[in-house]
Symmetry: C2
Subunit: 504 residues, 2 copies
């Protein structure tokens, strides 16, 4: 009996590792498409990626896999759900159940609609005409509700969708956490705006030669521990962190000669994602024990390196002299002015350009709107007006058009409902983990000031990266900090930092 | 009946096109490995590529494929072997028969030995110690003879191996052609050496900034018609032309700041390969009607653009003013001296650095040696001495060590027997095609002088590229020029050019 179980487990792992080979190959193709591929290569590239996606889907829903899992799931091997073997069985079972619950026809319809949706969104946005997007949005909502019904849920269909990005999270908990965040944040934003202080943002819009930006970005990514022996940095349109294998992690960014911050902070952000990927146990690559937990936890890593580290005073005590060596245009800039400029808070229309403080309000708006749409309490036709109302309410500004309003982001057109809140969850996890790391490691500020980032990285590796998917995001927070996720650690860091900056 | 045949043919084509998706994906992985991949990615990349190779092999030997081919091969559809459908059936049948004739065990042993062989070759070469390579060379020879026996042959086991690179070519014909070439070439080389003339090669070893070399190489590749909308140029260690899909062709080169010719002529050479790939009919991608004929024909394209075009006086009448704009170090160089320098003939030890004239003697030596080894007339132990003897005989120089002698090239260590002669066949095909193109198109020289390369490219597309594998290399030569392949067109071009250059 035990020999049979062992054999089934070995087959299961072998199967998952082979699927990971295909997935990592697809990862390289996607990275290449967005960084190197010549324009005319796009049509065939889509066929190559669709072929791989089909093969991966076949493997992930293979009846053989179901048989192994049926043998293993209730066996002694799976008894300890957080053991190495228990984690592998539990998570592969979870994935298999989700994948096989969706009818093939619905999967294809979702996929087709996502491709079409993005095209129609792109056209509608260019023409600033929401009515051209509305029909496909309605269809997408209908399909996503069907998807949720097929997957099953207890409280709200949004639960089933959220689970794709933040496994085991519940909408009700997310709603409560983000509502508490909103209630704390809106008065702080008002105070900052009301302070009348405005840093000199023009400092960051001077001449910053691209080659120097690239070299400086690489220097910073290497300083925080990104291993360029097992990774790269390239140019793309929309920065991302890609993976082509366990020791092949690819950061991307874009450069603007007249903007220091855009590339620099996106490099730190993507390097944060990359450090998580590089910190996963290589020998478990392709198994749940070697994979990242959730988008929220992934984002907690990128945000922590970008914000808690990269926008801190002490980080720049260390890096600013190096920046001055690289950029002539910073020669006359005092560190105080630079620090104020990279931390400027300014309510604005565009999420991806938002500052550290107001960013979460952009997310809240999207979360509240998509939740209402999925729960059929907001109709697609009413989205533009609802969007404007929320921006006025939370940020005291109203988009002058739908292109910068309800048509701003690609997500909904691609069927990504349940994705947005993970950005804010990431911020909050980052705040909570950082508070604990600071308590555990003593003087983090002093370490950063001396350019010592290894202690923090080691702490993250030991507490988060090394575990793969042994624990859910919520369990990780509880294990590490002894508390469930809440907005308070992040908010108190923000309140402290910005009270000082804006003299509140 | 006909409906059944049509269905079998459609299945056959669909199957081949899917296999091509995997092969083109492997093409991207290999390109990336040699141009972009971070060092630590290598181990997993080998697993990814081995996995794809295994899947491709499974598909190429699938019993289903054998059934379709059995139905089709003797049917009316295949009756005209050079029609579109006839070509697809004939060539896929040919490939299937070859692949299925090799026992799986032998395939695996060949593959393992090739990996090991390259490692041992690399160590032996570094240590300049042939004895460390000899045992694995003996094993490789034994396996290659087994391979030839399994594949079958009429005259010599070398026929079976040659067929992998130059399908349908016969060793006896290649031997005769190359022997005639050798007999014409050796006295010419003696005359050139005896002329006492030496161009000023130092001109090409001045300062050539790498960014300018890259820009100039791209300019030249674009000028001869390489489409950068469907291709790229990147840096690697050993230049090659890779393909990631029908409209995604990737040239590579390496730059040396103090060498103009190394990068420039390798770019033209690889662009020649790339023009062939870009000229194949896109809609046949993955089918034999959309694939290249042989290594010899492939090399005829790269050599023609590199040599007949790129080392001609008239090409540089057009390009030299542009080169002078890019490179300050050419400011005082007359075109005459530049032209003489890029066409310097000098018997030397290293094949890859050899000039246009002596290059074929390097190939002849390797061809004669590997033929003798496969036919068991030369023992591995006697290879170093035989190598020295031949270099003395044909080029009047003797390698001072085996590292630059019998250990010079990677080919044999990787099991590539039958590959070398295709380099010289390529030169001869280039000469024969170029002579005919010149007759068909009138004043090619005048066209080149004005920077007009499109007529030659169109001629190559129409006569060679568009046909895919409808005709074998030998048939192409006969169809296009009305004559079988011979050394005389190439040799008379060379004799004419170098008599002028060296005042013979």
């Amino acid at each position: 009996m035990s020999a049979t179980l062992d054999a089934a487990y070995a087959s299961l792992c072998g199967h998952a590792r082979e699927t990971a080979k295909l997935a990592s190959i697809a990862g390289l193709l996607e990275w290449d498409e967005r960084t190197k591929m010549p324009p005319a290569g796009g049509e065939y590239r889509a066929e190559q990626i669709a072929y791989l996606a089909g093969e991966i889907h076949k493997r992930q829903t293979a009846p053989q896999l179901g048989e192994w899992l049926a043998q293993l799931a209730d066996s002694s091997l799976a008894a300890d759900r957080h053991s190495e073997i228990g984690t592998v069985i539990r998570q592969l079972r979870r994935q298999y159940d989700k994948k096989t619950r969706l009818p093939q026809k619905l999967v294809e319809e979702l996929s087709r609609t996502a491709v079409l949706g993005q095209q129609m969104w792109s056209e509608a946005r260019k023409a600033d005409d929401f009515s051209r997007f509305q029909p496909i949005l309605e269809k997408t909502l209908d399909l996503k509700r069907q998807e949720a019904a097929a997957l099953g849920y207890e409280e709200t269909p949004y639960d089933a969708l959220l689970d794709d990005y933040e496994p085991e999270a519940r909408t009700s908990e997310v709603r409560n956490t983000l509502a508490a965040l909103r209630d704390a944040l809106t008065p702080l934003v008002e105070q900052i705006v009301g302070s009348g202080r405005r840093p000199d943002g023009a400092i960051l819009k001077r001449e910053f030669p691209i080659a120097a930006q690239e070299a400086f970005g690489q220097q910073a990514a290497a300083a925080i521990g990104f291993d360029f022996n097992a990774g790269r940095l390239d140019v793309t349109d929309h920065p991302f962190c890609g993976s082509a294998g366990p020791r092949d992690i690819r950061l991307t960014t874009r450069y603007n000669q007249h903007d220091f911050g855009d590339a620099f902070f996106s490099i730190l952000h993507e390097a944060g994602h990359g450090l998580y990927e590089q910190g996963l146990p290589t020998e478990h690559f392709g198994l749940p024990t070697g994979e990242t937990v959730s988008l929220g936890i992934h984002e907690s890593q990128s945000r922590m390196w970008e914000n808690q580290v990269g926008r801190s005073w002490v980080f720049w005590e260390f890096m600013f002299p190096k920046a001055r060596q690289k950029f002539l245009s910073l020669g006359d800039v005092p560190l105080e002015s630079f620090y104020a400029a990279i931390n400027e808070v300014q309510p604005s229309l565009i999420r991806v350009d938002a500052d550290e403080v107001t960013y979460n309000l952009h997310i809240l708006i999207r979360f509240e709107l998509e939740l209402a749409m999925i729960e059929d309490q907001l109709q697609a036709a009413d989205l533009p007006a609802a969007w404007r109302e929320k921006y006025q309410h939370y940020l005291s500004i109203t988009p002058p058009n739908d292109a910068d309003g309800a048509l701003q982001d690609v997500h909904w057109s691609a069927g990504l409902f349940g994705y947005f809140p993970t950005y804010s969850l990431g911020n909050l996890y980052a705040g909570q983990f950082f508070e604990k790391a600071n308590a555990d490691l003593g003087d983090l500020a002093g370490q950063f000031r001396r350019g010592e980032f290894q202690p923090l990285l080691d702490w993250l590796r030991q507490n988060i990266h090394h575990h793969g998917q042994r624990w859910s995001a919520a369990e990780l927070a509880m294990n590490i900090t002894g508390k469930p996720l809440s907005h308070t650690p992040w908010f108190s860091q923000i309140q402290h930092k910005y009270s000082e900056l804006y003299g509140l």
